[in-house]
Structures are given as structure tokens and as C-alpha cells.
């Protein structure tokens, strides 16, 4: 059985991923803010380093998998947090554990979003994240000047971070694979969480206008387990031929809205 580290493993998709991995007999290290094995705030450079250091202390022999689920939505009202956690928090953990993954020929799955294909991203921010990410604070300063109370602004930054994570994964997947580490991403549709259970009527209307074909007529969202099971598959030996792939796990929303996008 393997050793997997999961960020954001205390709830939602991350929580289900931890549960499914444990059911399969794996050892799982949950990295989160609380109720976890490594308490670390991945929105800060110090928190990321703490998580990486503790993983090295716990498993110097290496890791079989790193699953990055920690993130916040575009509605959280804090644009800097969206950028620092969703993008920098993900990339820093993957980079920081690369040596551990290489030791065991491990695999990594990052979580992006099916919204990356819907044209809502601030691509200038996504470009900054992918091409000029050596100075995190400079990018945080740019987004902090935007209106964090505007939901559409929050969403456009959220999508930009998810787009950038997906593109970062694609750019690095070949090199990582050549060194024995597979990199893949899942792109979930809207998922049932504690937050979506209590959202406003307007927010619910917006979510329902992103129809999920497999849920047709049910006015419901994806179950976290539907996403987690694909993450577990991508992190398994059965998926050893899959690398650099962004797997949409959205019940067909992407295909519905982008019928002509075959590749």
C-alpha cells in the first residue's frame, strides 16, 4: 500500500479523497488548517514550507502520491487568498514534494475546475501566474487593487487561478514523467458542499445555469465522491499511462458548452 499526501483533506472533495484512499488501505497524510495530520496555511509561503518540511520528516523514503485539493471559491471575497491558495499553494506543494515523489515513482493530481473552458478567466492574471510567478507579492498587489466584493471579479480571478494551475501542470508534465512522476488534473463541475447547501437564490440560479447533463432534471450538483473517485483512479497504478491530462469530471457540462472542442 502507498503513502499519499492530500491537501484540503478535511472536507469536500479532499475529504472524500482521503476516505477513499484509506478504504483502499493507503496511508494518508491530510494537510489542512485543522482536523488534520499537518496543520498548515497553504496560502502563505511559511505555511507551504512547513507542510513540505513535515512531509520530508515523516516520509523521507518518499511518497506515492500528492493530491492537491485545497482551495477557495471565487465567492470567498478575498482575491489575494484565491490567488495565494489556489495557485501558489498548489504549485509550491507539488514542487516541494517532487523529490519525495521521484523516490517512489509517485504521482500527483491537482484540482482545477471545469470553468477553465468557459471563457471567464482573467487571462492577464493567468498569464502573470504562469509566466511571472517568481514574485508572488507583486501579483497579489495587482489583484488586491480589484473589487473583491464583486462576485464576477472574484469568479474571473478564481477561474484564472484554476486555468493557471492546469497550464502549469501541462507545462511540467513531460519533464516530471521523464523523471518517473506523473502529473494530472481533475476539472470538477460544481460540487455539493456545505457552502452550496446554504447559498443564496441568485447563486443557486447561476449554478443551475451550468447544467450537469448526468443530473438532468434533478437541480442538483456533483457529489464530492464522484470527483474523489476519479482522483483516486488518476493516482493509482491503473492510470499509469495517463500523464498531462486534464480530466473533466463534471457530468458532461464541458461537452455540452463546448461541443466542437475535441482537443
Amino acid at each position: 500500500m502507498g503513502v499519499y499526501a492530500v491537501t484540503g483533506g478535511s472536507s469536500g472533495i479532499g475529504g472524500k479523497t482521503v476516505e477513499l484512499l484509506k478504504k483502499k488501505g493507503h496511508e494518508v497524510i491530510n494537510i489542512d488548517l485543522r482536523n488534520c495530520d499537518i496543520e498548515a496555511n497553504l496560502a502563505s509561503p511559511e505555511g507551504r514550507q512547513k507542510a513540505v518540511d513535515e512531509l520530508h520528516q515523516m516520509h523521507p523514503e518518499g511518497l506515492d502520491g500528492v493530491i492537491c485539493c485545497a482551495g477557495v471559491s471565487g465567492a470567498c471575497g478575498n482575491l489575494e487568498l484565491i490567488v495565494s491558495l489556489n495557485f501558489f499553494g498548489t504549485v509550491a506543494i507539488v514542487k516541494g514534494t517532487y523529490d519525495l515523489l521521484k523516490k517512489k515513482g509517485g504521482t500527483c493530481v491537482v484540482t482545477t475546475s471545469n470553468t477553465i473552458s468557459q471563457g471567464a478567466a482573467r487571462m492577464d492574471i493567468a498569464d502573470l501566474l504562469n509566466n511571472n510567478n517568481d514574485n508572488e507579492q507583486r501579483i497579489l498587489n495587482v489583484v488586491s487593487s480589484m473589487d473583491g466584493t464583486n462576485l464576477s471579479v472574484g469568479n474571473s480571478i478564481y477561474v484564472a487561478t484554476k486555468y493557471a494551475v492546469a497550464r502549469w501542470m501541462r507545462r511540467h508534465s513531460a519533464s516530471y514523467a521523464a523523471n518517473g512522476v506523473r502529473l494530472n488534473a481533475v476539472a470538477p463541475g460544481n460540487v455539493n458542499t456545505a457552502m452550496t447547501a446554504t447559498m443564496s437564490a441568485n447563486a443557486k440560479t447561476a449554478l443551475n445555469a451550468l447544467p450537469i447533463p448526468t443530473k438532468y432534471g434533478k437541480e442538483t450538483l456533483m457529489d464530492p465522491e464522484e470527483i474523489a473517485s476519479v482522483i483516486v483512479f488518476l493516482g493509482s497504478h491503473e492510470a499509469r499511462g495517463v500523464n498531462g491530462n486534464i480530466m473533466f469530471v463534471d457530468g458532461g457540462t464541458d461537452a455540452l458548452l463546448n461541443t466542437e472542442k475535441v482537443y
Binding site: A206, P211, N258
Partner: protein
């Protein structure tokens, strides 16, 4: 009301469910109009897919039609707006079932 008139009515009302119901179970909607995004074609098969697609476009892309005019039994023209990106379009009923449902419709730039 003729199918082409009904199509214009439901799309003006942004009634995505009624729009889907105008089509046969496997009805085909093809849209070839530029819309301000990188994707300039949509091919939707099945009334549920058509309904879900327009539910999304009516809200997120603010899809709307204006200056509508029914030209004949099978065609209507209108100015389509995709979130403020305007294009003159012509909708054509290519095939209709015996019971009056749309089997195939194309929407092309005029």
C-alpha cells in the same frame, strides 16, 4: 402557430425548457454564428441538451434576439446578441417531423 414563429417566441422569452420541447427527442440545433468567443460553431443533439445549453447561454452569455422577422414557413431572421456581441442571423428549419417538431435547425450569419 407555425414552428418557426414558436421558435422566435420562446427564444425571445428566454424559455429554455419550451425551446427544447420544440425539438424532436434527437433534434439537431446547429449554430454557425460568431459569438465573441473562440468557438464559432455549436452542434447540439437532443432536446434536453438544447434546453440545458440555452439555460446557460441565456444567463451567462445574456444571449438574446432582437429585430426578429419571420421570413417564410421555414425561416426567420434576427439580430443575435451574445453578451453584447451582435450578429445578423438567419434561422432555418431544415427538417420537421410529422407532428411538427424540429428535427434539424441551422442558424447562420446573414
Amino acid at each position: 402557430m407555425k414552428p418557426i414563429e414558436r421558435f422566435i417566441e420562446v427564444i425571445e422569452n428566454k424559455d429554455f425548457m419550451a425551446l427544447g420541447e420544440l425539438f424532436t427527442q434527437d433534434g439537431h440545433y446547429c449554430d454557425y454564428c460568431a459569438n465573441g468567443t473562440a468557438q464559432h460553431e455549436y452542434h447540439l443533439y437532443g432536446k434536453e441538451a438544447i434546453s440545458m445549453f440555452f439555460r446557460n447561454k441565456f444567463l451567462f452569455r445574456q444571449y438574446a434576439v432582437m429585430e426578429t422577422e419571420v421570413l417564410n414557413e421555414r425561416q426567420a431572421e434576427f439580430i443575435a446578441s451574445f453578451g453584447g456581441y451582435y450578429i445578423m442571423a438567419i434561422a432555418t428549419l431544415q427538417q420537421i417531423s410529422e407532428d411538427g417538431h424540429i428535427k434539424r435547425m441551422t442558424v447562420r450569419p446573414k
